[in-house]
């Protein structure tokens, strides 16, 4: 296996971008770092700056204000960088589909690598999504 790829999947630094979510997904993401789930075992860390990030985890339905900002944030991230859509709002806009303020789904703007549906997703679901993502990056299974 590629050495660089292995190091990348063993130490994923996550930047958390909340683009108009109701905070439930954000709380569930933080739950992944609590003693019960502890994703730091796998080297996953939350970072403050998008320049340090290997993954951007997006929560919430994007609105007119946050769409250009998210695009900018993705441009600022060093590649390779993956995008994770967390929660049904980020996956498919959910009940905000016909809202005046919500323009287009996330995957029309950014290349989304993994979708984690449900409202809000359980920490188990988020971890399972990240495992699937890692397997996809490594090109196996």
């Amino acid at each position: 296996m590629d050495f660089r790829l292995k190091a990348l999947t063993k130490s994923i630094w996550v930047f958390h971008a909340s683009v108009g979510s109701c905070n439930n997904c954000d709380i569930e993401i933080l739950d992944c770092f609590t003693p019960r789930f502890d994703v730091e075992r796998f080297g996953i860390q939350l970072v403050g700056s998008v320049r340090h990030a290997d993954a951007i985890i997006v929560t919430g339905a994007m609105n007119r204000k946050s769409a250009p900002i998210l695009k900018k944030i993705y441009g600022q991230a060093p590649k390779p960088c993956v995008v994770i859509a967390c929660g049904i709002c980020a996956c498919s806009q959910h009940m905000f589909k016909d809202s005046y303020n919500v323009l287009e789904p996330l995957d029309k703007i950014l290349p989304v690598d993994v979708y984690i549906p449900s409202c809000p997703p359980k920490p188990e679901a988020i971890i399972s999504g990240i495992v699937k993502l890692v397997n996809k990056i490594r090109g196996g299974k």
């Binding site: 063993k10 730091e40 080297g43 970072v47 060093p78 390779p80």
Partner: protein
């Protein structure tokens, strides 16, 4: 050739970086255990550095060349300090007259490199971080110098590591005397600020400044800064061992002392919230400086 080997491999870069990355792992593991978590595997910090080397390096639009140069300045300067400290510990008779003074200056280089890099990045949050780092540097250098003066007085005016170690081998470790004990407390607090660990991680505040001085760094320069921090942990701990715990230097005791200093720092880190910059400044120039002066007076009295 021998000097190059010492600089790059044994007490210098390779050795101190590996020990420092393992020390970073001890830090993360102990922190995790304190928070009732499991924590990362031992090779986590090595993986992080290797991963960062493979990532893209982004140069911000209005950044200067010093943005890319400053991490190297910090690391190269610090390796010299680590090599001098390791030489004094592992090869008896190595070193030169006045190496204590040189190392005190060298230990300030990483902070200065960070200030230069952050100011050159052209990011407002980074410049706030740089100004905080500068104030913190001014704050902890004063009591730090008092502790070093205490050690110099206690070892009869020696400014060479070899002489300080000989003095301690003859009369017992300095930490067990009254003035040495007080100076050790002051030095631990200053080391805490030097390493940028909570409660003094004001310059890198993840929540308010999003990484502060490191905000614009990615890829290789960020990896260099992580390595600099790892080497700094090794160098600062060895420095404290030489100054205060220099009696028995067999490998086992050396390791135990190293881990003891590390665990003290990690416990302070995990039990204190972040101070504001004015609180940190007041803390260092108030109580800590007074403690440093007290230890200095006690040392002059011969206690």
């Amino acid at each position: 050739m021998k000097i190059l080997f010492q600089y790059l491999v044994f007490p210098g870069f390779l050795f101190s970086a590996c020990v420092g990355l393992l020390a970073c792992w001890v830090d993360r593991k102990v922190s995790a255990r304190i928070q009732w978590r499991v924590g990362p595997p031992w090779h986590q910090n090595f993986t992080d550095v290797i991963k960062l080397l493979g990532k893209e390096t982004i140069m911000p639009q209005n950044a200067k060349l010093t943005f890319l140069l400053s991490p190297f300045i910090g690391l190269l300067g610090l390796i010299l300090g680590a090599a001098i400290l390791g030489g004094a510990l592992f090869f008896s008779g190595a070193g030169f007259s006045g190496d204590l003074i040189v190392v005190v200056y060298i230990l300030a280089i990483p902070a200065i490199a960070m200030i230069i890099g952050a100011s050159a990045s052209g990011n407002p949050l980074a410049s706030v971080g740089a100004s905080r780092e500068m104030k913190l540097l001014l704050a902890y250098e004063l009591p730090f110098i008092f502790t070093i003066l205490t050690i110099i007085i206690k070892s009869n005016g020696a400014i060479k590591f070899g002489q300080i170690l000989n003095q301690q081998a003859a009369s017992g470790s300095f930490i067990f005397s009254l003035s040495g004990g007080i100076a050790f407390i002051v030095a631990i607090l200053c080391t805490q600020a030097k390493l940028g660990f909570p409660p003094f991680d004001i310059a890198e505040a993840e929540q308010e400044l999003m990484g502060g001085t490191l905000i614009e760094y990615s890829g290789l320069p960020l990896a260099i800064f992580k390595l600099t921090k790892a080497v700094l942990i090794t160098a600062a701990s060895l420095f404290l061992i030489i100054l205060f715990l220099g009696k028995d230097l067999s490998p086992l005791f050396l390791l135990l002392k190293f881990i003891m200093i590390l665990v003290i720092i990690i416990l302070i880190k995990n039990t204190n919230p972040r101070a504001r910059i004015d609180q940190a400044l007041r803390f260092f120039w108030g109580p800590v400086t007074i403690l440093g002066l007290l230890s200095l007076i006690l040392a002059v009295k011969g206690l």
